[in-house]
Amino acid sequence: MKRKLVVIGAGMASGRMLEHLLDANPDAWDVTLFNGEPRGNYNRLMLSPVLSGEKTYEEIVTHDADWYRARGIDCRFGEPVVKIDRKNRTVSSNLGGAPYDALVIATGSAPFIIPVPGKELPGVVTYRDLEDTHAMIEAGVAGKDAVVIGGGLLGLEAAAGMAARGARVTVIHLNGHLMERQLDPAAGYLLQKDLEARGIRVHCNGATKAILGHDRAEAVLLEDGTVYPADLVCMAVGIRPETRLANDTHLEVERGIVVDDAMRTSDPHIFALGECVEHRKQLFGLVAPLYDQAKVLAKTLAEEEAEFRPVQTATKLKVTGCDLFSAGDFAEGEGREDIVFRDPGRGIYKRLVLQDNRIIGVVMYGETGDGNWFYGLMKDGTDIEEMRETLIFGPAFQGGSKLDPMAAVAALPPEAEICGCNGVCKGTIVKAVQGGATTLDAVRACTKASGSCGTCTGLVEQVMKFTLGDSFTAAAPAGMCKCTDHSHEDVRRLIKSMGLKSIPAVMQELGWKTVGGCHSCRPALNFYLLAEWPLDYRDDRQSRFVNERNHANIQKDGTYSVVPRMWGGVTTPAELRAIADAADKYNVPMVKVTGGQRIDLLGVRKEDLPHMWADLNAAGLVSGHAYSKGLRTVKTCVGSEFCRFGTQDSTGLGIRLEKLLWGSWTPHKVKLGVSGCPRNCAEATCKDVGVVCVDSGYNISVAGAAGMELKETEHLASTPDEDEAVEIITAFVQLYREQAKYLDRPYKWVAKVGLDWVKAQVVEDIDNRRALVARFDLSQSVYRRDPWADLSTPTETPKWGPLADLTLEAAE
């Protein structure tokens, strides 16, 4: 006699299970299938092509009513089961019921709704089943604003689908990069770039605070205050296993319905599979393990031995044009090695994670054809030692050319500027080379490229090599650090010409060889980016050395020194009292006068810093930036105000310069001196910029040094006018900011580019001088602010102390 099998839920997992079960034993079971949705089984993975209009519902059906009927299955579609009676082994639906010998629960999952105000407004939808999909299509999204909350697989497919139907789409994602469960930051960056190129706006690090609107959704408000207009809000933040029936009948339920290896629940007559189950603490959302479960459960029901063992599964995003592949574990870890391949020109990123000569993780973006081959090697645990050298190039590639270091230059458009001094673009150089200029000197002679400051020589040579092929051999410039072969100068230029505005963007587009850079390149990149894009780039504190991150100088014992700014070295009794009070209050072990006419409080504990800053701020004192690659001090003498030899107001000029320049970040520290007469009491002629006042005006000299090297300044300009002196000095500092290599003091930089060139830029060419000043002012509109005030607020102050104090628990 046939046994009675009742299945709740006609989804992909139960459909596959019934296939296996009935193929093996067509006559063993009487099957009754209940389904809440009024239809059979369709391929949920294909919902996004339906949403985007690339497919219709009919094309994605896998098991329709006819399929079930042909196998003698009693279909109760549109008839949700409301109760399971375990004692009498029956289920009841809204219309009737059925007895069972074996029951399979395959109720799937429900979308997770984030609990924010406005979540129940009309216009807020989820993206999970065909109804949701139709709701979005019928809402007629064309020309409307849509916001998708959640930048995971489903969210991005929903976003792409709506964008394809003509909506203006914004994706809000809580994490720092998209699809963080499947992608590392580099691949996440590329994905974001591709989506943005198709007009989808992406807001990472965005936490939704509320959905705004009166009668229906109108906008989405984020915690950071951003508001995006939204006619339609799609929540795609995750799923929750549908366990209500199992709960009501007191089966064992954790996050999902708990099953054993044979897919049996805590009741031996009841089984479960699909997204509603939890197996060994794990939930399942991807289709491959669900199909494995289907196979196992079919065997269990046929009373054969079978065990469900989840395997690593691979993910692909089904968004046309965004080609990504992810499988396994791609976090860094002990004993793990990376093989990274980047082709910036084509937006390709591939990363294999190896452990013990075996692939344990794969992330690919841009070109994923070899994904399944890598995935196969990973699943099989193949020893890859033999093919390690060429592994990343895929199965078709054994031995051949290596990563092309010229890819970034090759990808530049002809109008990209290569030589900033002379305004020479790539196309001009290519034309010159094709016209017969085959040596660097010849190119310089006919285009002027790299003929002035010379720092773009490496790039010009790369353009020549790209044009000439192997017949050209250039002297290879030294790379910035072990992470890249590009020189500092090249990186600076490419940041500008390629419009790179973040550290991950630079690392990807310029083919960084490491995953997250190192302590050497990260501070340099951070400076180059903030100097190039003062308004767009946000300073990355974690890429700064400790002193700049903590706005104080670390000492050998881990304490810090605090130096308040004293404009031009001038102070007041009130300021001195505040400094003395702070020194007492925080038990400062040493108070010292510095070489730059400031007072240094040495030996301050980190957790005291914000409190001390707040106290000093209250007395009108701000950070002296004694720790920064930036403007340090302007040292002055008393000048004509008091000194009987003084010719000009050197103190006043020093204060004016310091108030103008403070807060700016520079490639290395910058110190100024202003002396009121040629006796030079402020020792201005060994500073980065020195002014010596004379009867007829101001002598400006630059590029001095009084450190490991000792060097007198060189004369830059003389002017009778204080305003012009200030303008020239500002332009010099800005030129240094724009041109110098990170950690080159001005004297080193001037030695490389030549003082004559600097003079031409900031003294002789007045338009250029004014443009430099304007760019400096723009940057200062962002950076001329007191970090002490910013970091001693009630929210920031606690971050300076320990995260936890376990010694207190020990005492208890």
């Binding site: 720092g176 963080e180 590392d184 930051p185 976090a331 860094e332 870890g333 002990e334 004993g335 490491t514 995953v515 997250g516 850079g517 190192c518 302590h519 990260r522 501070p523 504190r541 974690q542 890429s543 700064r544 050395f545 400790v546 991150r549 903590n550 670390i554 050998k556 014992d557 881990g558 971050k799 320990p802 995260l803 936890a804 104090d805 376990l806 010694t807 628990e809 020990a810």
Partner: protein, 111 residues
């Protein structure tokens, strides 16, 4: 089996940064990587005692702020030409909270 104790929310540690936990066995630096993994190391460079918690975090390495020794955070071993080892402690992240090896509550590591 390792017993863990809660030390605070993951969000309190900046990505590619660290926070310090005071223990009876000395300060411990708790690091968070760019991909949100957490490591705990003794906050003391074996070279000259520098606070590793103030170093630049890159990948799963940290560079000591005083003299640029680089340590692998998985094992605590110095990289490159330098030789040295710092103690590491088990951590885990659960529901957005960071947990650390509870033996750190003890007064000494032998207890």
């Amino acid at each position: 089996m390792t017993v863990f104790v809660d030390i605070g929310p993951l969000d309190a540690i900046p990505q590619q940064g660290a926070r310090v936990v005071k223990t009876a066995q000395g300060c411990v630096a708790v690091f968070r990587t760019a991909d949100d993994r957490v490591f705990a190391l003794e906050d003391r460079c074996p070279h000259k005692g520098g606070p590793l918690s103030e170093g630049i975090v890159h990948g799963t390495s940290v560079t000591c702020p005083l003299h640029n020794w680089v340590f692998d955070m998985n094992s605590g071993t110095a990289q490159g030409a330098d030789e040295g080892l710092v103690r590491t402690f088990a951590t885990k992240v659960q529901q957005g909270r960071v947990l650390i090896d509870a033996t750190l509550i003890r007064r000494s590591n032998a207890a």
